[in-house]
Amino acid sequence: MEKTEKDFIKLTSDPLILQDIVDLVKDDQAGAISTFCGTTHKTVVRLEYESYIPMAEKEISSIITDVRSKWELTKVAVHHRLGIVPVGETSVIIAVSSVHRNESLKAVEWLINTLKEKVPIWKKEIYYDGSSWKENTKSKCC
């Protein structure tokens, strides 16, 4: 990892650790860090995520470019877990640092909303009696 790196994108089957991701965006210049964590609900047995990984990485990179054109940000991290995610564990973490608070707050909100619309990742909900592929409400499609 280069010293100058400012964007951190990861799709991984490992558990996501909030502190690790916050540490990526920490910066002496940044007085504000905002984060969002999405976690599996209790209503399912587990979730299974799959992704068109290279395109998902490209789309996340593209929405980070977009978010940086909207707000002045220091560092941005978007990590998404793939494969089985047990109940209570985190499927996505977004962390953004900025000099002032407003920018990182707005950026996190925009990033999670846009990720849910555009990034080719799919969630299968596994119930005791079956399973189904979810569709995000504003999924870009159709």
Binding site: G38, Y49, E50, S51, Y52, P54, M55, A56, K58, H80, S91, V92, I112, L115, K116, E117, K118, V119, P120, I121, W122, K123, K124, W133, K134, E135, N136, S139, K140, C141, C142
Partner: protein, 89 residues
């Protein structure tokens, strides 16, 4: 041989046909396929895909394309992905 493209199926599309990728030849009579040609071709190959395709996006070489844009063509060597409504997050 060189007139083939790859097609990738994800999530509900893959589950519907139990195939995650195929290599398909562009018909001998043409050098590329419109998106409407592609839809017809896939619907003919996989009956179970018809309804899912209606609700899916296409991506060509990892770029979303507008299904209604008649100028977009699938060319030999392209990687086409069927993208059902996404549900990340």
């Amino acid at each position: 041989m060189s007139k083939e493209f790859t097609i990738l199926y994800f999530a509900s599309a893959r589950d519907a046909i139990n195939i995650s990728s195929e290599i398909i030849s562009i018909p001998a009579t043409s050098s590329s396929l419109s998106l409407q040609d592609l839809t017809n071709l896939l619907n003919n190959r996989h009956e179970n895909l018809v309804k899912i395709l209606e609700n899916s996006m296409f991506a060509i070489n990892m770029q979303y394309v507008d299904k209604d844009d008649e100028s977009i063509m699938v060319k030999p060597g392209d990687e086409v992905a069927i993208i059902p409504p996404v549900s990340g997050g």
